[in-house]
């Protein structure tokens, strides 16, 4: 279970390894406070949707699984949005449209489709927490670099000396891409040294789940699911890997 949680932090980090959720990552990482807010909101949605989707995985017919997931995810996003609007209005205003856009965040739908729809509730919850923490840490790292060097502050507190020598481009889009690229390169270098994995489908951390190692990107689990077994091969794989 611990391994399941940790994989989202580095090995399968949704932002820096799987390159999902790039849009909010670039948009909200101009300040650390916003990055935390977005990370917390996405984690809450991820946790809620993963638990519900996992609990309903045998009930939801394969043909309507994507619309069902989207309705569930949109429901959780709206709940988070209303709660934030009521209790942390400043953060709600700061995150703006990107809060609503969590609905279409690939991390959420990706984990629902790849993991929660084939695994038990507890495993799905742990996976969601791991991915959520990984997402938040990636945003935190990126936002720290951008805010410290771009605005000369951290969490809104001005940093002496640095605040007089800011690099304004870092808080603009080009700077965001630049920092994003650097972080991806660092994580890639670290994980490659550890695992020796390479680019391409076979080297992808999600290859085992999506079935690329079988020579096909078609998810075998879905075939099984559609056939009515209600349990894909990944149930076994993930459970065995605990």
């Amino acid at each position: 279970m611990w391994k399941n949680f940790l994989k989202g932090i580095i090995r399968e980090n949704p932002v820096l390894v799987l390159l999902l959720g790039t849009c909010p990552t670039l948009a909200v990482t101009t300040s650390v406070a916003n990055a935390f807010g977005m990370g917390a909101a996405a984690t809450a949605v991820l946790l809620g949707s993963n638990i519900v989707i996992s609990a309903l995985r045998r009930m939801i017919p394969d043909k309507v699984r994507i619309p069902s997931y989207i309705v569930i995810i949109a429901g959780f996003v709206t709940v988070v949005e209303m709660v934030m609007h009521a209790f942390v209005p400043d953060l709600y205003e700061a995150l703006g449209v990107f809060l609503s856009l969590i609905v279409v965040n690939c991390i959420i739908l990706g984990r629902a489709e790849v993991y929660a729809s084939k695994n038990r509730v507890l495993d799905s919850a742990v996976d969601a927490l791991g991915m959520g923490v990984g997402f938040t840490l990636a945003l935190f790292a990126m936002a720290s670099i951008r805010e410290i060097f771009g605005s000369g502050s951290w969490m809104g507190f001005e940093i002496p000396i640095l605040s007089d020598f800011t690099i304004p481009i870092l808080v603009n889009s080009p700077g965001g891409f630049f920092v994003f690229g650097i972080l991806i390169a660092i994580v890639n270098a670290v994980t490659k040294r550890k695992t020796g994995r390479d680019f391409g489908c076979a080297g992808c951390p999600s290859a085992a789940v999506c079935g690329a190692n079988d020579g096909s990107l078609q998810n075998a689990a879905h075939k099984d699911h559609a056939a009515g077994s209600g349990k894909g091969p990944d149930d076994t794989a993930e459970e065995g890997g605990k």
Partner: protein, 415 residues
């Protein structure tokens, strides 16, 4: 197969219902908190614009209050008023909301934006209003953000109108230049673009009574600043033959200043415009149709030329209009039958003009025009002119159509 489909429908419907119930429950809890927070936010903005206020009491203005004015609050300590405003430009569906502080001397003490969702940044534009009185002599529209700043200024004017009406503040004094700018809009409304700004170019006229002369960029008329007996007058002449004269207090003196008006009419030779429009109108008619330009004396809208038609089938009149759309003026030829019903509409060029913006926009123009044919002044409906995604163009067509019906009414009344 059928069982599977039924199960899919039942499951998806069930999920939707459960999510709806959950959202309703959360909304039940959060909505009052959000409402209270918004109210306290608005209250906080009152103190920002009137920092020395002792407290605020909401006032209820008498008479009709413009939609832009959402609240008027009086400082119980007597330092002035705070007005909450909501304005919408054509560019944004979300209204910009702001609070305006006005001191008892009638001058703006502060502006606090409470929501701004326009596509372009306003910069420090709102702060340029601080210190201005109701004349707003020292502020202009913000270059590059014309529509939003026009909406902003309009809301501020509405706030002052309400405060002056209430007797809360005194009316500021406008300069002659400001009054003339306002008369341009009032006397020649057809020359306004969609942001409401008069689009006039200055022209040279050699006449001792003319101080300044302007021609509408969309060829609907002329505007003169003239002098007689040491007094300044504004004279507007439409290319359809209308003329009106006002003094700088806003009084219509057309009858009293007959000589001045006659001189303005003589200076406004629109024959070249009519010739050009006759060519455009003839394209909307069968070969051999005869067009004769005619005049109406009281139209100052977007109709640039009116022709009687003979040998043009159902068409008895052809009216060429130049309303503003998204950017430059459009050229629309309306054909009307004897009863004033639209029997034809021809658009010179593309109706949706900005191919860069609407690069993927496909309007079935013939179907659009078919929906307009047969309408009369009584049956005309704005919905018929609606073009989804091209609001400003649709507004232009609707304005032109209303002007055409007004011109027809004048024609039938005058003859």
């Amino acid at each position: 197969m059928k069982r599977e489909a039924t199960k899919s429908i039942v499951v998806l419907t069930g999920i939707c219902l459960i999510v709806a119930v959950l959202l309703a429950a959360v909304n039940h809890v959060t909505a009052p908190i959000i409402e209270a927070s918004a109210a306290s936010g608005a209250q906080a903005s009152l103190y920002v614009v009137l920092p020395n206020a002792a407290g605020f009491e909401e006032e209820t203005p008498e008479g009709e209050v413009p939609q832009t004015v959402t609240g008027v609050f009086r400082d119980t300590g007597g330092s002035g008023y705070a007005v909450t405003l909501s304005a919408t430009s054509s560019y944004s569906a979300t209204p910009m909301t702001f609070t305006l502080g006005v001191g008892t001397d009638g001058k703006i003490t502060g502006v606090e934006m409470t929501n701004y969702a326009e596509s372009k940044d306003f910069g420090d534009y709102p702060s340029t209003y601080v210190g201005q009185d109701s004349a707003l002599g020292g502020v202009d529209v913000y270059a590059g953000v014309t529509y939003s700043s026009q909406a902003f200024r309009g809301a501020v004017e509405d706030a002052f109108a309400v405060l002056v009406e209430m007797g809360g503040v005194a009316q500021g004094n406008k300069t002659d230049e400001q009054i003339i700018d306002e008369l341009k809009i009032q006397l020649l409304p057809g020359a306004r673009n969609r942001a409401g700004a008069p689009k006039l170019k200055e022209i040279t006229v050699s006449d001792p009574s003319v101080q300044q002369a302007f021609a509408a960029e969309n060829d609907v008329g002329y505007f003169y600043v003239m002098e007689a007996d040491g007094e300044t007058f504004a004279v507007a002449v439409s290319t359809t033959g209308g003329a009106v004269c006002m003094d700088l207090t806003g009084t219509d003196v057309t009858a009293q200043q007959e000589a001045l008006v006659q001189r303005a009419l003589e200076l406004s030779d629109a024959s070249a415009i009519h010739e050009k429009n006759q060519t455009a109108a003839s394209r909307a008619l069968p070969d051999g149709a005869q067009l004769t330009p005619i005049s109406v004396s009281d139209q100052f809208g977007t109709v640039a030329s009116i022709f009687t038609v003979s040998g043009g089938g159902d068409a008895a009149y052809a009216m060429v209009c130049s309303p503003y759309g998204y950017r430059s003026p459009m050229k629309l030829v309306f054909l009307l039958d004897n009863m004033g019903a639209i029997s034809g509409l021809r658009v010179s060029g593309e109706l949706i003009q900005d191919s860069d913006y609407y690069s993927n926009y496909t309007l079935d123009e013939s179907a659009y025009i078919a929906g307009i044919i047969g309408l009369t002044g009584e049956t005309a409906d704005e919905d018929a002119t609606l073009i989804s995604g091209a609001t400003m163009t649709a507004d232009g067509v609707w304005t032109a159509m209303q002007d055409v019906f007004a011109a027809f009414k004048s024609l039938t009344t005058e003859t």
